[in-house]
């Protein structure tokens, strides 16, 4: 919203610099986003009369003008505009003048003709966006005077952003009222009434209130014999400076009143109203209206309309209808000012996608007391700008009168909330400055909720007003005296923090990908039916992810297509799954691998990676969190059929890993060896882990033995290891695989597994005699149970 400093001065005698005004508004909660001092960059612009206009000899679209700027020598100026004629008075930027945007006017030769200055459009002066032609000034404008003051360019526009609670501040009066409170300045308001006029308004029209709950008050006045024409210059200029396009002298007045006191108005052509009367009612099913923007709307019975005897002529508070529009032939106007229910206006405006200046204000709540004030102001202005005669009196249909509610403000509560004590007198003074009605009852203060402030409902709302005017910066800075009990962070947070650091130190980069993804992603990367967004930004982000797979695959793929092949990624985030009526949001971890772990390894000792790199990573993750993971064969469609595993803890499924299925290698840049894993961290956090118990460390030396076995190829390592552990008995301290071999020297159909065994006793030094029987028992079980044998040599 744009606010004009000169307009504020209608209400306030405010002389401080605009910067100071802007800062004070900011510090009172009225955000000034920008401040434009209009004529700041303009210098050397004067009024001039065009003495002659001739076509440019060398350019069809240019003219050659001789301009009198009140100096002995008239200026010859080349001009590209086409709306001027000899005799017009226009703003002229002389040689040496400067204009907004850093433009300097110099003597110039344009298509062979010398030009000694420039005649200006409104846009060139920063007055409005209008660049259709030169700014033609009234014929009685003196020549050769500085245009800055004349055009009102010695003014400041504040660009203000108002929070949704402050509907009362959406006008010049509203901002003036704020400033009056901030600076403790008197607010001047002129009282107008409706007593004068030519005959009674009630003889000409009537207002029927069929929906009083939606429209508490509806006021109407009539002016007859108006002559529709462009508005006078001062009115156009004020509107243009705040970004409102002038239309005609009646419509401009209604817009002016809205920007002035914040009350939206509407003007009907009285003669176009059927039976010349107004009915405020709910729309009937099937009714239609074509609004002033040219769109046709089908109305619903939940919408409030202004109708004549026959049909809707406006959507209440949102927009007028074409059928009752004021146009050039209008002679009688009926002016409307009303109070509409904020919710119904908002719903209707939303339904039609038609947010207007009017609906914006009604939604935020208007001042019901402004109904007569707006009408009287508009009538007096129309008489001035469009002539005609007003009817005396107004129709003031007011079936639901507003009662001022009173709120108790306790000084004790004020200090309880703000942390600084206020005397009742201090509070009273501040509330008075805000134009609230205040009564004292001993220590307590009774404040009436003013009709312009719909955001004030409870004691604390007034406490905010007190703090705002007192100044937030004047409150002390202290620390809370409360001591809240300490709490541990949740298990999931602890796991996430631990894993994040672990993975990063192993060379993995953390990703954060969007929670919403396309509904069209491969079904293999989903788990169950995803939750769908009703109003996504795009189909690409239409559903919530059910796994982290797609985000990881997509991240790897996009990097590979950008020629980055060596990737180590992880992501921790939530996935969203249906659970009957409810949604569950397990936290997950995904890991993605492509290319080499360390492309910087110039010695090439660390080049190959495979499923077991990822498996090892997961084993480590399990260990970090106190769990031994179990890996089993699995058959997920997202993975290569024979290169995948699922991960369990105590039989409980918590994740999977594998090489991506070749079907997803849809670009020849993509290497086959892309590995993905996904772990359910919530599942992890829910498992109770074993607290380690320390075992005593033996002081006696160990006996080490390596055992190389040849076994049928289908025999799995862990079964063999378990059997060795069992046979090893209590003396076996550890048993670990250290080599797998297949090929020369080994029967096809077999492979060699080599284990490193460590035997140790807690209380003595072991001898061969202790270990040999154990080795023999192991060999026996390998032969009997696994049909294997010791590897020869």
């Amino acid at each position: 919203m744009k606010i004009l400093l000169s307009w504020l001065r209608d209400y306030l005698d405010i002389q401080m610099p605009p910067e100071k005004i802007a800062e004070s508004l900011n510090m009172a909660g009225i955000e000034v986003e920008a401040l434009h001092q209009l004529g700041k960059d303009i210098k050397g612009v004067v009024t001039g009369r065009i003495l002659s206009r001739e076509p440019h000899p060398n350019a069809e679209k240019l003219s050659l003008c001789l301009v009198d700027v009140g100096e002995p020598v008239s200026l010859s100026i080349v001009c590209g505009a086409d709306n001027m004629k000899s005799g017009d008075i226009v703003p002229v930027a002389k040689i040496g003048a400067s204009l907004p945007g850093g433009i300097e006017i110099r003597r110039a030769k344009i298509r062979g003709s010398e030009s000694f200055g420039m005649m200006c459009s409104k846009r060139e002066l920063g007055l409005s966006e209008d660049h259709s032609g030169l700014y033609i000034l009234p014929a009685d404008t003196p020549i050769g005077i500085d245009a800055l003051k004349l055009l009102g360019l010695d003014d400041t526009v504040f660009d203000i952003s108002i929070t949704p609670n402050r509907g009362d501040a959406l006008s010049h009066l509203g901002i003036a009222r704020e400033l009056s409170a901030i600076f403790n300045l008197p607010l001047h308001r002129k009282a107008l009434d409706e007593s004068h006029g030519d005959g009674e308004v009630s003889a000409l029209t009537s207002v029927t209130m069929d929906a009083p709950q939606m429209c508490h008050r509806y006021g109407a006045r009539i002016v007859e014999g108006v002559k529709i024409a462009p508005s006078p210059r001062w009115l156009c200029e004020r509107l243009e400076k705040i970004g409102v396009r002038p239309i005609n002298n009646v419509v401009d007045v209604t817009n002016y009143v809205m920007m002035d006191i914040g009350h939206p108005m509407h003007a009907f052509d009285l003669k176009k109203l059927d039976d010349g009367r107004i009915v405020v009612r709910m729309a009937k099913p099937g009714e239609k209206i074509k609004t002033l923007d040219g769109n046709q709307h089908g109305l619903e019975s939940t919408m409030l309309v202004i109708a004549d005897a026959k049909q809707p002529v406006a959507i209440a508070g949102v927009m007028g209808g074409e059928n009752s529009e004021v146009d050039d032939s209008t002679t009688s106007v009926l002016l409307e000012a009303a109070w509409f229910d904020p919710v119904i206006v908002r719903k209707t405006a939303k339904t039609f996608g038609m947010m207007s200046e009017s609906s914006y204000r009604f939604e935020r709540g208007t001042n019901i007391d402004n109904v007569p004030i707006a009408l009287n102001k508009a009538v007096s202005m129309i008489l001035e700008t469009a002539g005609g005669k007003a009817k005396a009196g107004m129709i003031d249909a007011y079936p639901v009168p507003h009662h001022v509610k009173k709120i108790v403000v306790r000084p004790r509560r004020v200090s309880q909330v703000l942390g600084v004590s206020f005397k009742p007198e201090q509070i009273e003074t501040i509330l008075n400055r805000l134009k609230f009605e205040v009564e004292r009852e001993g220590e307590t203060i009774l404040v009436g909720i003013p009709p312009f402030r719909h955001d004030l409902e409870q004691e604390v709302d007034f406490i905010e007003e007190i703090a705002r005017i007192y100044g937030y910066d004047n409150l002390p800075t202290t620390l809370p005296s409360i001591m809240a009990p300490p709490r541990k962070s949740s298990p999931i947070t602890a796991i996430q923090n631990r894993l994040r650091d672990h993975l990063v130190s192993l060379g993995y980069h953390q990703l954060i990908t969007y929670s919403f993804i396309s509904g069209d992603i491969p079904v293999q990367m989903q788990e169950g039916l995803p939750l769908t967004l009703k109003n996504p930004i795009s189909e690409e982000q239409g559903v919530l992810r059910t796994t982290l797979m797609w985000g990881m695959y997509d991240a790897l793929r996009r990097n590979i297509l950008a020629d980055e092949y060596d990737l180590r990624f992880f992501e921790m985030g939530r996935v969203f799954q249906r659970n009957g009526e409810n949604t569950v949001e397990p936290d997950r971890l995904s890991i993605g691998i492509s290319g080499r772990a360390n492309p910087r390894d110039w010695r090439r000792c660390n080049e190959a990676h495979d499923l077991y790199e990822l498996k090892g990573l997961l084993e480590g993750i399990g260990r970090l969190n106190g769990h031994v993971l179990e890996f089993r064969n699995s058959s997920r469609d997202v993975f290569h059929p024979s290169r995948q595993m699922e991960v369990r803890v105590g039989g409980f499924l918590i994740g999977c890993l594998g090489q991506i299925h070749p079907r997803f290698l849809d670009n020849k840049k993509m290497p086959a060896h892309i590995y993905l894993a996904e772990i359910d961290l919530s599942g992890f956090a829910g498992l109770s882990s074993q607290t380690p118990r320390m075992k005593p460390i033996s002081e006696f030396p160990a006996v080490q033995r390596d055992l190389a076995l040849v076994l049928p190829i289908e025999t799995v390592c862990e079964d063999v290891r378990q059997a060795l552990v069992t046979e090893g008995g209590t003396l076996l301290e550890s048993c670990a695989l250290f080599d797998v071999y297949q090929g020369k020297g080994i029967d096809p159909g077999s492979r060699s597994l080599a284990f490193s065994l460590v035997f140790r006793a807690g209380e003595r030094t072991l001898t061969e005699a202790d270990v040999q029987p154990r080795i023999e028992a192991m060999t026996a079980v390998i032969e009997k149970k696994f049909h294997g044998k010791l590897r020869a040599g």
Partner: protein
């Protein structure tokens, strides 16, 4: 004879001084102390002396022998160490060849900033609470004093799910869920993803927020200021700050906190749009209507709440000019952190 001993000593000294390496020293040993060396020759010449002089001369030669052999050993040990050192120095590594352990990966810039902020509040005695991202409208709006059809809903363009729930537009619903389960005194923060229907270079439909809440007896707006100033000074260093009135439906009074622009130190620059100030968070005293929703005694308890966006802080700190980079998973971007 005494002359010969002295001459030999001199010869040895000059030879050993001239020796360049252990090879030369070995030659010296042979020349002086070898089986056919100068000392042996001297001892052999003892027979030519009168018997009464032999004893003394013999002793002098042996002293010389010990002396030379000791000096030679010392010299060899010294030279040897130096030579070893020299040899080791020849095997100089190329310090510019890269190391072969993988470089660490990276913590996402959003996580880095979020953790830093969270750590400050955790150290001030707050605890980290949590809530769902798919939220009931009640928790996201009504319980936070944002009724349906209120213009405040325009402040946050909401994603709706077909099930009727919403993606939370703020972390504030965690306040409600926490207060429903715990009684004051309470000091919590919540951190997580939030969603708004908004997308350009400074707005992402998904971003991260941190929320804080303190409730108890005699918790005041001055306490709010003190707590947040302490946070800001820890995070950004000691610099001027200000609190401006603002509007959030769930706080009353509401404020926004600005700190002096960290880039221009208040002189005005592009980043602070010439104001010299940077908005860092929104805050306020908990609206009694919110306490009513969670059945807290509004007369007894007061509290304050605050919330801040993480992405903006990360973008400012690391000079990231497009928010979409944060969620684009581009290794060339991630590697920089």
């Amino acid at each position: 004879m005494s002359q010969s001993v002295e001459t030999l000593r001199q010869e040895f000294r000059s030879a050993s001084d001239a020796a360049k390496d252990s090879k030369d020293l070995e030659a010296i040993r042979i020349r002086f102390l070898g089986k056919k060396g100068a000392i042996t020759a001297l001892l052999k010449s003892l027979g030519e002396l009168p018997p009464e002089e032999r004893r003394e001369a013999g002793a002098r030669i042996n002293t010389l022998k010990d002396e030379l052999s000791q000096a030679l050993d010392n010299e060899i040990a010294k030279r040897g160490a130096t030579e070893q050192e020299q040899k080791l120095k020849v095997e100089r590594p190329d310090v510019t060849l890269p190391g072969t352990l993988p470089l660490p990966g990276s913590i996402h810039p959003v996580t880095r900033v979020a953790q830093e902020i969270a750590d400050i509040f955790l150290s001030m005695g707050f605890f980290l609470a949590d809530g769902p991202e798919v939220e009931e409208e009640y928790y996201n709006f009504e319980a936070l004093n944002v009724p349906a059809h209120h213009p405040a809903r325009d402040m946050q363009d909401t994603f709706y799910l077909e099930t009727g729930r919403v993606l939370r537009t703020q972390t504030s619903p965690v306040q409600i869920r926490t207060m429903e389960q715990m009684k004051p005194p309470l000091k919590m923060i919540a951190l997580g993803k939030v969603y708004r229907r908004d997308s350009d270079i400074t707005h992402s439909p998904m971003f991260h927020q941190m929320e804080g809440l303190v409730v108890g007896e005699n918790v005041t707006m001055s306490d709010l200021k003190g707590t947040l100033v302490m946070f800001a000074e820890t995070m950004f260093g000691k610099r001027p700050f200000r609190f401006r009135p603002s509007y959030f439906p769930f706080t009353e009074p509401s404020a926004e906190m600005d700190i002096q622009c960290i880039f221009c130190h208040g002189n005005g620059c592009k980043i602070c749009k010439g104001t010299g100030w940077m908005e860092i968070l929104g805050c306020g005293m908990v609206n009694p209507k919110v306490f009513e929703a969670v059945k807290y005694d509004t007369e007894k308890f007061t509290g304050f709440a605050f919330g801040m966006g993480i992405e903006r802080q990360a973008m400012l700190r690391y000079g990231i000019n497009d928010i979409r980079l944060l969620f684009g998973s581009d290794i060339r971007f991630l590697r920089q952190f």
